[in-house]
Structures are given as C-alpha cells and as structure tokens.
C-alpha cells in the first residue's frame, strides 16, 4: 500500500474563465491535489456560481482547500471599517466552506479604496511588528485556523530583503503561524539585488514553511539604466527553470511543508498554447513534489494557540499618515526625480522608512505599481 502523500501539489484557482479553463484538464484527470482560493476577491458566497462553489467544496471536504487573502492590508496603521468587515466575512466563510488554513501578504496596500492598490513593504520596527501581530491574531480568531504570511517580492533596498525574513518569523510567533515561501518572489529579489539563493534562504526559518508558491513573471527595463532588467512578480508567464530548481533545493529543507501551489493569472491564459504551457508547468512541479513527498518529516500543523482576549485594534497614527503620504507621492509623481524630491522634503525623510537608501530602480518600480493599480 502506498504511503499517503504528505505534500500536496495544487493550483491557485479563482473565478476567471481562462484560469478555470487552463486548470480543467488537470482537474478532470485528478492531478490537482489542492486548491488555493483568493476568497476576498469574491466575498459574497451566494454570488459564486454553484458549480464553482461545489468544486471548492469538494476540495474543502477533503481538507485540500486553502484560503489566500489579498486585500486585508496587514500593516495599515489605522484599523479600517473594511478590515473589520473582512474579518466578519471570513468568519462566515469558514462556516460555509471549510478551509485548511488562511494566509495573507506581508506589506500594506496602496490605493484609494479597499479593493485597489499594490503591496509595498514597510519599515520593520517595533511599531509595525505590534500592528502586524495584532492583525494576525484577529485573522486567526476570525477563522480559528492556522494562519500564515507570504514573503513579498518587492523591497526598497537590499537590507530589506534579509530583514523581511527575520521579521516574518517574529510576526508569526504569537499565532504559531507559518510561512508561504514564494520562490518567484525570491527569484525577483536575487535578480534585483544581486544576491544568491543561498544568501536569501539562509535568512529564512525554513521549518516554518507550510506552503510554497511558484509562478512566472516578467522583465522590465530599468528606468535609470535601460540595459538593466528588473524582475517583476506579475504571474503572467511560464515558471522559469531556475524557480523549479529552487523548488528541488528547498523542499528537503522545509520539513513541515504541506502544499506547493502553482500561480498564474487568468488574463495570461487566454490562448491554448498558454494553457498547455500552464498544464506542463503543473506537471513539472508535481513531478518534483512527488520525488520528495516522503521526505517531509515534520509534524507541525501550526495549530492556533489558545485564544486570548483582544482589546481594541492597535493603531499607529504616525505610521498611517506616513503610509498615506507615501501612497500619494507614489501615485502622483510624474517621474523618479519628482518622487525623490517629494520624499526628501516630506515627513518620511530621516525616519525608519529610510527613503534615502531606497534603490532608484525599486523606487521607480514602486511608482509604476502604485499608479498602475490605483
């Protein structure tokens, strides 16, 4: 009798026609072992077509449906009404559709309302640590499930890359939380900051990894030096061979790994060729997972600790005003020079944001992200 697989090969699946079309052959053949669903992009369960709900439910009933939030904005300095609604909806959602765990992203979202914006990094200091821990505890109490955070591709400068790894562990400690290790996000960082994979992995507590993401992305020409290629986490192309190589490297090191998830946006899956390539990516990923799935030796399920009463949500008014200011500068600056000048003369100068150290190409990327997704 075969040993049950301990690591599930899955896909990010959302209610986008090309996404579902591309995944359909894999679902029909029984190859997909888990689904990750971004539940907050479609909050009203009764608006989901019944066929999609039933598909999700079939995975949920097998404990193979995981939830991946996008819009909570973990580090926003002021607790928003929308965040409270997000938590209440999550609480109702898990009653109707059992999830195995819930995750969110490291960072705060720019954008004028709760559904827009791009995730940017934050100063990593005691204030943001407290805010992040407070919000994670609220997410956990809303769902009663293991909770985790995904590492962010974007960083303002090289110090941020390694600091993010340690900060994630500190954030997750009170909730006995876990990491989503997004290998394409790391691929972006090693290119954009000229680091090695070993440099970056050494900073992470890999025993905290319960989930791995792989995806493709794109290249953008540098603003300062057009010959420079900036790697962007756009989820719109095939998984690079290098990222699959990272997967082979890290799986044996992540003893509590349970899910490996392929991500690709529906908008990049319109053409039959792209859908075939997506299916090939999944099978390549799955082959690697199958080679290692008997080596997962850990038994940490990241069970939530006993809930403690939470007081009013922590807030940091200065952080919030700085976030609004930063969003405004990024969204309104016509070019990099204007953004630099605005930052240098703003209340963000000479603070933990360390705007003076920000890499020019990363600042240019942040401007583009903020203006594109606003």
């Amino acid at each position: 009798m075969n040993k049950p697989a301990s690591i599930f090969a899955g896909i990010a699946l959302n209610l986008e026609k090309p996404n579902v079309e591309a995944a359909l052959p894999l679902l029909q053949s029984g190859e997909v072992e888990a689904i990750e669903w971004s539940f907050d992009t479609l909050f009203q369960l009764d608006q989901i077509p019944i066929w999609f709900r039933d598909l999700l439910l079939s995975f949920a009933e097998a404990d193979r449906l995981i939830g991946h939030g996008v819009f909570f904005s973990l580090f926003l300095g002021k607790y928003q009404r929308e965040q409270d609604q997000w938590l209440r909806k999550l609480n109702r959602l898990v009653e109707a559709l059992p999830l195995a765990h819930v995750t969110e992203h490291f960072g705060f979202m720019t954008g004028q309302d709760f559904h827009k914006g791009a995730p940017l990094s934050i100063p990593m200091n005691p204030t943001t640590l407290s805010i992040g821990q407070d919000r994670l505890q609220r997410i956990q109490q809303a769902c009663g499930l293991p909770v985790g955070l995904e590492n962010l591709a974007f960083a303002y400068h090289v110090d941020d890359v390694k600091r993010q790894a340690a900060f994630l562990s500190q954030l997750l400690e009170p909730v006995n939380g876990f990491l989503i290790l997004d290998l394409h996000n790391i691929y972006c960082q090693l290119h954009n900051f000229d680091l090695s994979i070993d440099d970056i992995l050494a900073a992470y507590d890999l025993e905290r990894v319960r989930e791995i993401h792989i995806s493709g992305g794109s290249w953008a020409s540098g603003v300062i030096n057009g010959a420079t290629q900036i790697r962007r986490d756009t989820h719109d192309s095939q998984v690079p061979d290098t990222v699959l190589g990272f997967l082979e490297k890290v799986i044996p090191l992540c003893i509590n790994l349970r899910y490996v998830i392929l991500e690709q946006l529906g908008a990049s899956l319109h053409m039959p060729g792209a859908q075939a390539a997506y299916q090939q990516d999944f099978r390549r990923m799955q082959a690697i997972v199958k080679r290692f799935d008997s080596t997962s030796k850990g038994d940490d399920d990241f069970t939530p600790p006993k809930a403690v009463p939470l007081g009013p949500p922590l807030e940091a008014p200065t952080l919030y005003s700085e976030q609004l200011l930063l969003s405004d500068i990024l969204e309104s600056s016509p070019n990099l020079l204007a953004a630099r000048q605005a930052l240098a003369t703003s209340s963000l100068a000479q603070t933990d944001w360390q705007v003076e150290k920000w890499d020019d190409e990363m600042l240019a990327t942040a401007i583009e992200l903020a203006q594109k997704w606003n």
């Binding site: 026609k17 888990a34 598909l55 991946h68 709760f114």
Partner: protein, 68 residues
C-alpha cells in the same frame, strides 16, 4: 484528487454558458463606494465608465495577486 463527474460536468457547462465574470472582483456594495449591484469588471472605473486601455501588456486585468 478525484472529483465527481457531476461536479466536473457542471464546470464544463458553467464555462460554456459564460457564468464567469471577466474578472473575479465582485463588489459588495455595503463596503465599497460603487453603486449597489455593479459588478466591477476590469474595464470599468469606479464610476462604472469604461477605462482607457493603457496599451501595456498587462492592461485589463485586476488579479488577486501578481501586483508586483
């Protein structure tokens, strides 16, 4: 993971009749500034007017992730 034939058949039918929005972003009018009942698709702005195609390779989608 094996999925029941009836569920898979329903997925096929659902795709064929087009019961998927072009974007998975459905607005809950209780907590957004959009008028009630509007399904915000990628091609509409917050007032429900058509967005301008910005001509980039990544126009017309509002993915849950991949904003990076």
């Amino acid at each position: 993971m094996k999925i029941s034939k009836s569920i898979l058949q329903a997925v096929v039918v659902g795709l064929a009749v087009g019961s998927t929005p072009s974007c998975s972003f459905l607005v809950d009018s209780e907590d957004s500034t959009l008028p009630a009942g509007i399904e915000e698709e990628c091609t509409l702005d917050k007032d429900g007017n058509p967005k301008v195609n910005d001509g980039s390779d990544h126009d017309y989608y509002c993915p849950p992730c991949g904003r990076g």
